[in-house]
């Protein structure tokens, strides 16, 4: 048992740090990186992100885990983790390439033709083009395969109609991966087809979604008679679900956890609040909750270390990584609620100028529900853990073995 890098890992880390030192500025206290649900579509940010990706690509730091034949470094997962840890210590532009490099790229490598690989992978790697994912629909959230947008063949093209939702970055992306229904008369998972779509095509309209915290990280994307050449089809006709699964399996496991610092902020908050003439931190009820939060936060971080250790041993983290998001989401929400309660009546404010720690707990309370929903709700994560980690029997299915068009989508009309 050893928390330190192996010699090989240490060497790689040193190399990464050397390059980063020469090319970026380290984070100072007070600096922060853009959160995953933040707004980040101002043109300047996009431009600086593109420059940074180009620079990394030039020196071989982009797409570390991609095979060398596609311009990657064939790096191990642990090297990738080390790079991410190191890069996070520097001030860098928002990362707008996660979906492209992590999900779209590998899917194209696995399922694309040679022509498709040549067409899309190099410019993706160099950061010239940004990619987004168009899977979810208003009526198909947790039940992703229940999507209803349609693709109809017309000569060499396909004509797409429908609506996608929760698309990160749609407003500045150049390409999107798209799963739509090409046949509603067969079973749910059998009638889907997978395309790459030019986001600048006529008939695509992007509308930002405002979140309850006021942020606009996601979009709705409307398709009206959008034409996609058949050459941009990435799956066999009707085999889109299998390809979508490849994409989703590449969705980056959230690793590490962090968050530990939040408990220290909570301690600071409690220390500064007076109750009955003493610091709230002296109250056993406050201490008990802080200790519970600390224990669980640390548990998540240490569980992340166990995952890292597995990666370091060459294993691939699987669905058990769902634990971090499932436990961490609730935990953060409870911490934020508790912090607001500690503030008493002032907890009812959301005014950075009036509150300790610039109202950041209020911000968290408003942003955390998104984390408990996006990328798999708590309920879906419990399904994943129980079925894919624990091997428990699946839920009874009401949509099995019938044509998609016959699956109930609402209450009976009688």
């Amino acid at each position: 048992m050893d928390f330190n890098d192996t010699p090989e890992e240490a060497a790689f880390r040193a190399k990464a740090r050397t390059w980063l030192d020469a090319n970026a500025e380290t984070m100072k206290p007070g600096d922060f990186s853009a959160g995953p649900l933040d707004e980040r579509d101002d043109p300047a940010s996009i431009q600086s992100a593109k420059k940074w990706q180009q620079k990394k690509a030039d020196d071989g730091w982009a797409c570390l885990t991609w095979p060398k034949e596609y311009g990657g470094q064939g790096a191990t997962s642990i090297q990738n983790v080390i790079w991410n840890q190191e890069e996070a210590r520097y001030k860098t532009p928002p990362n707008i390439y996660g979906i492209g490099l992590g999900m779209c790229g590998p899917t194209i490598m696995t399922h694309g033709t040679d022509a498709q690989r040549e067409r899309w992978l190099p410019e993706m790697r160099m950061g010239q083009k940004v990619w987004c994912q168009l899977f979810s629909e208003p009526s198909a959230g947790s039940d992703l395969a229940g999507l209803r947008s349609t693709a109809v063949r017309d000569g060499d093209d396909w004509v797409i109609n429908g609506q996608k939702i929760w698309t990160t970055g749609a407003q500045f992306c150049d390409w999107g991966i798209l799963v739509v229904r090409s046949d509603a008369t067969v079973a749910k998972h059998s009638g889907l087809t997978y395309f790459v779509v030019d986001m600048h095509s006529p008939g695509i309209e992007v509308r930002p979604i405002t979140q309850i915290n006021g942020g606009q990280g996601f979009n709705e994307v409307f398709f009206t008679d959008v034409r996609i050449p058949d050459a941009q089809r990435l799956s066999e006709i009707g085999n889109g679900w299998a390809v979508a699964i490849t994409t989703l399996m590449n969705e980056r496991a959230s690793i590490g956890g962090g968050g530990g610092s939040s408990v220290h902020e909570l301690i600071e908050l409690a220390r500064g609040i007076e109750v009955d003439g003493q610091s709230a931190l002296e109250q056993s009820s406050v201490r008990e909750k802080i200790a519970t939060f600390y224990t669980r936060t640390k548990g998540l971080k240490l569980t992340g270390y166990r995952t890292l250790s597995a990666i370091s041993q060459g294993k691939t983290p699987g669905p058990e990584s769902s634990l971090g998001k499932l436990v961490g989401g609730r935990l953060t929400q409870e911490m934020a609620a508790f912090a607001m309660d500690l503030q008493g009546p002032a907890g009812a404010l959301n005014d950075p100028s009036q509150l300790p720690q610039a109202a950041e707990w209020q911000d968290r309370y408003l942003s955390i529900p998104g984390l408990r929903i996006a990328g798999g709700t708590d309920e879906i994560l419990r399904n994943i853990i129980s079925e894919r980690v624990l091997g428990l029997p699946p839920e009874a299915r009401a949509d099995k073995g019938i044509a998609f068009k016959d699956i109930p989508t609402g209450p009976p009309s009688n």
Partner: protein
């Protein structure tokens, strides 16, 4: 045994519900939340026409002369509709304070205008971030002039006057202070639920009119908090019931995997738990209302358990509401966040659940009635 509201009281409740369904759909709350409007003034006027602000004000002062059971019914409906008006500040606090402790002159001066909704009152106790701390109030009154800071004050930016707790000659006392007069500086501060407004108020020599006996401020304030808590519990109950009803309807109508989301035990069992919490809140709120109307002796415990269960239940169901709506629950466009915000606001303005729990044990120790 008749631990239930009367048919007349239920009729009054239905009238309030119907009125609010028409005049305060959630779009009214949303409009206040999204704009600079501090509250819905049309709705405020309409409520006054319905006689709600003056529900418990005797007819001789222009009120409806109802009891607190009737007011509780109105409060539940205001909660259900998330009505964006300074009702709790003006009615549960300012009006109650004057009814409880006001001189004849004070009653004559304030009650008719409060009943008519032409004057808005509020209560200014808290002075800084942290729990309500009646004993450590720093604001001072000397020679009838108030100085000090009150923060946060619910509806303090729109109220015409405040009942202020301050140290006077005889110790802590309550005072009536005109917020539009001299020596008052106030600023709106951003509320966690912008459909309800909050303020910081600096007093510097503001004229202060003693309310009740000098030196009785601590017990008066504590008693006022209890009364307001028992009423606020109905607002919380109404909001919780609305969260629940909307979530039940959404999950029943939304289909996933070929069947209603609410048919999955992951959802339906939690809906059952939410229902239990709300029913307990309802029972405790009823007890609070009963104590408010009948048995002052039991109010000190009844107010605590009403406040605790209603607040905890509302927070829980508001969190579940967002979660069970899935993606759309996290959008600005859907109404879930109106409840999610209001839950935290109502849970905070009278002091946290933890503070009420501590108070409850004090009171049980002091000898629980029967």
């Amino acid at each position: 045994m008749n631990f239930d509201f009367s048919d007349d009281q239920k009729f009054l409740q239905q009238t309030a519900r119907d009125y609010l369904a028409e005049h305060s759909p959630l779009s009214v709350c949303r409009e206040v939340l999204e704009t600079d409007k501090p509250y819905a003034d049309d709705l405020w006027k309409g409520a006054a026409e319905m006689g709600w602000q003056g529900a418990v004000i005797p007819e001789e002062y222009g009120g409806a002369g109802f009891g607190h059971l009737e007011l509780a019914m109105i409060a539940e409906e205001i909660g259900r509709a998330l009505a964006p008006i300074p009702f709790s500040s003006s009615v549960y606090f300012a009006t109650e304070a004057i009814l409880q402790a006001g001189s004849e002159a004070q009653k004559k001066k304030y009650l008719p205008a409060l009943a008519a909704g032409t004057t808005i009152g509020t209560f200014a106790l808290t002075e800084k971030t942290g729990q309500n701390d009646i004993e450590n109030v720093q604001a001072k009154v000397s020679d009838g002039k108030l100085s000090g800071t009150k923060f946060p004050v619910a509806d303090g930016d729109v109220a015409n006057f405040a009942v202020v707790a301050a140290q006077g000659d005889g110790g802590l006392s309550l005072y009536l202070v005109d917020l539009e007069g001299e020596g008052v500086q106030r600023e709106s501060v951003t509320s966690f639920d912008p459909s309800r407004s909050m303020a910081r108020i600096e007093f510097d020599g503001a004229p202060a009119d003693l309310l009740g006996e000098a030196g009785q401020g601590a017990s008066l304030a504590s008693h006022l908090l209890d009364r307001a808590a028992a009423l606020m519990a109905f607002e919380q109950l109404g909001s919780a019931q609305a969260c629940f009803d909307i979530t039940k309807e959404f999950t029943t109508g939304r289909y996933a995997f070929g069947r209603p989301v609410a048919s999955f035990q992951a959802i339906k069992h939690r809906l059952a738990d939410m229902w239990c919490e709300i029913e307990l809140a309802r029972s405790n709120a009823y007890y609070g209302a009963w104590a408010l109307s009948n048995e002052e002796d039991e109010l000190n415990v009844a107010a605590c358990i009403a406040r605790i269960q209603a607040g905890d239940a509302l927070e829980q169901v508001s969190v579940e509401m967002v979660q069970m709506h899935g993606g759309v629950g996290y959008t600005w466009e859907y109404d879930c966040h109106l409840f999610y915000r209001r839950a935290k606001l109502l849970g905070a303005v009278l002091g946290s659940s933890a503070q009420w729990k501590d108070k409850l044990v004090d009171r049980i120790e002091a000898g629980e009635p029967s």
